[in-house]
Symmetry: C2
Subunit: 336 residues, 2 copies
């Protein structure tokens, strides 16, 4: 059995209060007392019970990070930075996976998990705006939305400007002389904000350049996975007039697309240029290396942690939108 505060107090011949003060690094404790208490703590190998402390204080020091899949490189990079940023604030991070399941997402926010287990939630959602609004009212849990969702004024929110990011990527393709520019990642359902925004950026860049929008060049992708990218690219290449460039809504889609292009006997960037979004490390070592729109996951994580911890301390803070910077990174896959 682990030693309790009471054990220490008895052994050291002091009150529990004093022991508690020593443990919590409280101010007014005489040197003599402190030393004696510390000795006994060491002797008994006492550690405060965090569960009891949490029950008393109402805080657990735990945050939840909710992502679709932790093994998607973008999310694992985000998790790395979130865990590190949280540690700097004295928080630890629980990782929950929704597996692209809307119901599970809603459950995680409104359901059994809107309990007192976490002090806050960092949520990288798939859900629609409507659903977010719907579930928003009942919870008082500090929540920060991560990634790429429209700001609806009800939640703290850290994201890049998706429309601009997509626009920048496509404008780069146009600037390098491409004219038949496909897109992979539009969502079959109209519910998702991110694909909509990126589609908007894609189309606006084309329009600005006076290029007609060809709906056959926009391919959906359900999960932003390599497999989806492969499939979509293969379909594009099988069409009558094939594209000379593809804007992929994620680097992972791009990795799959690149493989499909090679399997079709074509060259990158000579026959088809490729650009993605996320700047995962994989794209720096691939052949060719992958041009992309870089997202600063460390920045996103730090801002998110700053917001959620601020809200934990001050629940009535007005929600704020933080726009994270993005940057075009040109590598071999779009070099001319």
């Amino acid at each position: 059995m682990p030693a309790t505060l009471r054990d220490v107090a008895e052994r050291a011949q002091v009150s529990m209060r004093t022991v508690s003060n020593v443990v919590s690094g409280y101010t007014h404790v005489s040197e003599k007392m402190r030393k004696r208490v510390l000795e006994v703590i060491d002797e008994l190998d006492y550690r405060p019970n965090p569960v009891a402390r949490s029950l008393r204080t109402g805080r657990t020091g735990l945050l939840a990070l909710v992502v679709p899949e932790i093994d998607v490189p973008y999310f694992s990079a985000l998790a790395r930075d979130v865990i590190n940023a949280a540690a700097a604030f004295g928080y630890r991070v629980m990782v929950d996976q929704t597996g692209h399941d809307h119901d599970q997402e809603r459950e995680l926010l409104t359901g059994a998990d809107r309990t007192m287990l976490f002090d806050g939630i960092l949520f990288s959602p798939l859900v629609t705006k409507a659903e977010l609004l719907e579930m928003s009212s009942p919870t008082r849990m500090p929540i920060v939305l991560l990634g790429e969702h429209e700001f609806d004024g009800r939640y703290d929110h850290v994201a890049i400007d998706n429309v601009r990011a997509a626009h920048d990527a496509v404008a780069h393709l146009i600037a390098s002389g491409r004219t038949r520019i496909a897109a992979i990642g539009a969502q079959p359902l109209e519910e998702y904000a991110t694909p909509q925004q990126r589609t908007a950026g894609y189309e606006s860049a084309l329009s600005e350049a006076g290029i007609d929008i060809d709906p056959r060049l926009a391919k959906p992708a359900a999960h932003y996975s390599r497999a989806d990218g492969y499939r979509a690219a293969a379909e594009l290449l099988a069409q009558s007039r094939r594209p000379d460039a593809i804007f992929c809504f994620s680097d992972l889609l791009a990795m799959g697309a690149m493989r499909a292009i090679f399997d079709a006997g074509l060259s990158i960037p000579e026959d088809v240029a490729i650009i993605g979004v996320d700047d995962i490390e994989e794209g720096r070592y691939s052949r060719p290396s992958l041009s992309t729109v870089s997202l600063d996951t460390a920045f996103i994580a730090e801002q998110a942690i700053a917001r959620v911890t601020a809200r934990i301390d001050e629940p009535e803070l007005p929600p704020r939108e933080v726009v994270a910077p993005h940057a075009l990174v040109v590598r071999e896959s779009t070099a001319h």
Copy 2:
């Protein structure tokens, strides 16, 4: 303020005991009572407070997964499976990163975290055998060692047979006609078990084939990262007699090595064959696709969760070693 058990009891005109029974799905509750209580629970939107429950029961339903870096593909794949397997047992998973820091590793096991916050720990360690033994005695926390550590009989342990895995990889290279076979991943310090075991497998395969072991062909790598793989491969290629094959101790090293080989103007597998370990998805889409030794992360995760939950329920279980299967996967990078 969220409703408590007492609130529900008062409103439903029953005792807290009865409410608790209903919530816990306990057996002996009359239908009438149950219905009335459930109504009030719904009315008040009551959720049991997990912290209070934990204090009382001594269990948190939380597991810790300790890995060097969550954004290393192997670890994020492992985390995915661990989280899913844990969920099937009613547990949630906290992810801690040690960042290749020995002190942090030891701290996480013996230190402040050997508290009552977790019911158990899944630990993918870097530490030496000696250190593991040293820290082992004081803790009663159920711990399962994951990945590739020698079984020392003191902990539950789930891992592949590293010596055989390495042997199989190198034997495959030999069988495909390679004779100057390099290795990337040997550790500069003698402390790590995994590199030692893989080095042993590498050397035994060479010896069996009557190939002399050339120490200049064994390159160390500190972090099993792409950057380390790139660097080590570049060094190998700069040497007088360059290798015709490289066994990389991880797929990530292999991804870096492949890029280095291309940057040197050589072809894979024509000039140099490459094989890794882990079977990360990235290697299925790379060009060339990467031959590897596949580890079954789902199996490892399920076994680990099964062990740790069993030990939580029955602390005195004798530690057991589970050897996870591995399989050679031949892809383009070693095709002849």
